[in-house]
């Protein structure tokens, strides 16, 4: 059944380029010769390794366990021998410990014990056990979200996928409709809510049609608008509730989970499969054969690109994630993590590499800012070194870093980078 949606009037319409990979069914990726599984694939403390170099593990075996409440278990994604535990760089900077496993090609597999009975507590426990985190990009441990401090009445399954190029959630919604609905119902059971809304942008009519026929879930048809997938704006569009600054969605009675997370919950509860792989989109004008792939965690980006026929000759810019919020890569020597939804290769024509010019105060950034901030003021005060003014006048701490302001900026200002720097400086000062 479809529900009425609200209209949030900021944001911007972007050519979504989804047709490059929207028609490609999800392909299973053969396990690579070796994987490097990061211990920090989520928000919170990195997991603690429970294996040592030389140990032999199976696919689905626990190799690192959650360290504290806000952390997540990590599992082996191939069967083989642990050959190293070493520091590896992360796409967004910094580094993390990785467990490197050499594939022995035997594909031995273990799974979690089947659940005796499905109760809210057992589902919550299983989600924690299976190491499930928010797979839309933030990577917040799902188990923590399932025990909100305030009463909630609505679960929104986020299938907006507003980032251009990315189609992994779209493909999942078409191919695994029932499983996602089932996973959403399990999440709803754990939360004790009745209302489950699947939120999908109008540019995915086939996914909307599929979910429309499923019992027990409501479908919200969202206008195509970036950043529709932002938690706060999704909640407003679906329920009309506004999350106040500094508050969590649970404070207005809503929990938002990504479709991929819902699927992972289904697989963990019903099939006993821990989080060992995820679907991601490899796309962009610089990739010869764009595809949607089911990738074992820890697979190197190079391996994925080679599977997609490699890059075209004019490929220039490599991005982990979507083109709006993703990180530029300086090499392809990174490894898939739980939060990776895309790997893009753009050509010099698509990628924005023009130098910034002077701000002409046109006000376009303020006009499109979904958080109703003043990006031009943040930029001005940050570059002047007055971070307090950037906070007070520009409202920098409320920024969701969606990049809409920089997208529309005619002067090509690096607004997002200013904002990130300002936030960093304010954090240091505190």
């Amino acid at each position: 059944m479809k529900i009425k949606t609200k209209f949030f009037c900021r944001g911007v319409h972007i050519d979504d380029k989804k047709s490059l990979s929207a028609g490609c069914p999800i392909r299973d990726v053969a396990a690579p010769d070796s994987v490097a599984i990061a211990l920090s694939q989520h928000i919170g403390k990195p997991a603690k390794p429970v294996v040592a170099v030389g140990d032999v593990v199976e696919r689905g075996a626990l190799i690192a366990e959650a360290d504290g409440a806000v952390s997540a278990n990590v599992f082996a994604s191939v069967s083989g021998k642990v050959i190293a535990i070493e520091r590896r760089p992360l796409p967004r900077g910094g580094e993390t410990d990785c467990i490197v496993i050499e594939n022995d090609g035997e594909n031995r597999e273990v799974s979690l014990k089947p659940l005796q009975e499905i109760t809210p507590d057992s589902v919550r426990e299983r989600v924690r056990e299976a190491g499930i985190v928010g797979m839309g990009g933030a990577g917040f441990p799902t188990a923590v979200k399932l025990s909100p401090k305030t009463p909630v009445d609505t679960l929104i399954v986020n299938g907006a996928e507003c980032e251009p190029y990315l189609t992994c959630d779209h493909r999942l919604m078409i191919e695994k409709t029932d499983e996602i609905a089932e996973g959403a119902k399990l999440l709803a059971l754990a939360l004790g809510v009745e209302r489950v809304i699947v939120a999908i942008e109008l540019n995915k009519p086939d996914a909307i049609a599929k979910f429309d026929g499923v019992d027990g879930v409501l479908v919200a048809e969202l206008r195509k608008r970036y950043p529709m997938g932002s938690e706060k704006h999704l909640i407003y569009s679906c329920t009309g509730r506004r999350v106040p600054p500094g508050k969590l969605p649970a404070d207005v009675g809503v929990i938002v989970e990504n479709v991929a997370t819902a699927l992972a919950v289904y697989e963990a509860v019903k099939l006993g499969k821990p989080l060992v792989d995820r679907v991601m989109t490899v796309s962009g004008e610089g990739v010869k054969e764009p595809a949607n792939l089911r990738v074992p965690l820890g697979t190197s980006y190079r391996y994925l690109l080679d599977l997609c026929g490699g890059e075209t000759d004019d490929a220039s810019t490599y991005i982990a994630g979507g083109p709006m919020m993703g990180a530029t890569l300086l090499s392809t020597d990174f490894h898939t993590r739980k939060t990776d939804s895309g790997l893009l290769v753009l050509t010099a024509r698509q990628a924005s590499i023009a130098a910034p010019t002077a701000c002409i105060h046109c006000g376009r950034c303020a006009e499109v800012c979904p958080m109703h901030l003043l990006p031009m003021d943040i930029d001005f005060y940050t570059l002047a070194g007055d971070y307090d003014m950037a906070r007070d006048r520009g409202g920098v701490l409320n920024c969701i870093e969606c990049g809409t302001c920089a997208y529309v900026c005619p002067a090509n200002r690096a607004l997002v980078q200013s904002i990130q720097m300002c936030k960093q400086k304010l954090r240091e000062k505190r």
């Binding site: 600054p245 890569l329 753009l346 924005s352 002409i360 376009r364 003043l374 006048r393 409320n398 002067a411």
Partner: protein
């Protein structure tokens, strides 16, 4: 393997500063062409002098600042062309050659470049250039208005005859002076037989340019509309005559100022609400100053309000998405106060 690093967002919209300035130039085209037809070769020369000296002033200034000539030419953003053209359109056609030249050099060097170039100026360069000309070359700017070569279609009195060389005063000054209009509203709209600056007489041409800017989303429709309507209404209120509405919005440089100058990004508030208030205040200031001084004051009004823009930016800021509205906050505060009072009385009762 070559990696090109881009900042997020890695894709960008197609709008550029140069593109926006080009749109403004295109929008000014009808007014420029009509001005040249109305006022002949003198107007063409005036416009050319103004534009060339504006561009030259910017290039020379940046060369003196030891900027690379290649950088200057590659990153040339057309703003000085817009300034030069706008300035020329606000000057009378028969002004001697040094008036447009000196005014546009003043506009570019003093008003724009000395403050840091594009985007850093406090006041609109073209407006300030005109005000400079008004003060420095008063004899030209106050009395020497020329009527266009095309005469009024429907003159009210015989004095507005076709081909008159110099009327001495514009329709607006004559109206403000209590002498009444010599042409009909239609003539005011088309600029036929109306003395005035090169670009300001034909409102139709300006309107076409304004519609182009609105369609291209360079300016917002409501900004000039608010300015023009408020000016007309306040003029009616001051004159206590509703009939003043149409002549007071159609005469003088109001259309040129409202569509092209008040909406200048750099010197108008950042936010939409700020702009509404700004435009309304501009209307009030324009009408009031017109009534007080009996001369055309659109440029002075805009210059005055330009100086207040930092105040607008400091105090008029949008409410963050999800933050409680003013009314809501007030309600919460009232509820708190009521609760406190209730507690107090409870305590007193207990005592």
């Amino acid at each position: 393997m070559k990696y090109l690093v881009s900042d997020s967002p890695h894709i960008r919209g197609k709008r550029t500063t140069r593109g926006i300035m080009l749109d403004v130039l295109i929008a000014l085209l009808p007014a420029t062409v009509v001005g040249c037809i109305y006022f002949g070769g003198a107007a063409v020369a005036s416009i050319a002098i103004s534009v060339v000296s504006a561009v030259a002033a910017e290039v020379v200034f940046r060369l003196i600042k030891r900027e690379n000539i290649k950088d200057i030419l590659l990153n040339f953003d057309l703003t000085s062309v817009v300034t030069g053209l706008l300035l020329a359109l606000t000057l009378p056609s028969q002004a001697p050659w040094y008036v447009p030249m000196l005014s546009s050099i003043f506009a570019i060097v003093v008003v724009k470049m000395l403050f840091g170039g594009t985007g850093k100026n406090l006041v609109n360069p073209a407006i300030t250039g005109r005000v400079f000309a008004f003060i420095a070359f008063q004899s030209v700017m106050v009395s020497g208005w020329l009527a266009p070569s095309i005469g009024a279609i429907s003159p009210v009195a015989a004095s507005g005859a076709s081909g008159s060389v110099s009327t001495g005063a514009t329709q607006l000054t004559s109206m403000l002076g209590g002498n009444g209009l010599t042409v009909s509203d239609l003539d005011l709209f088309l600029g036929t037989g109306v003395a005035g600056c090169i670009g300001e007489t034909c409102k139709l041409a300006l309107l076409i340019g304004g519609i182009y800017l609105v369609v291209r989303r360079v300016i917002k429709l409501e900004y000039p509309v608010i300015y023009i309507v408020v000016t007309g209404l306040v003029a009616c209120a001051i004159g206590k005559d509703i009939g003043l509405f149409v002549p007071s919005i159609l005469s003088g440089g109001l259309f040129l100022g409202a569509i092209f100058m008040a909406t200048d990004y750099v010197t108008s508030p950042h936010t939409r609400v700020g702009n509404w208030i700004y435009m309304a205040l501009l209307g009030v200031v324009t009408a009031a100053l017109r009534a007080a001084t009996k001369i055309e004051v659109v440029s002075f009004a805009i210059l005055l309000m330009n100086l207040l823009v930092p105040m607008f930016n400091a105090y008029i800021r949008p409410r963050v998405f999800g933050a409680p509205s003013f009314v809501k906050k007030l309600k919460v505060k009232l509820a708190e106060a009521r609760e406190k009072r209730a507690q107090k009385t409870d305590k007193e009762d207990a005592q």
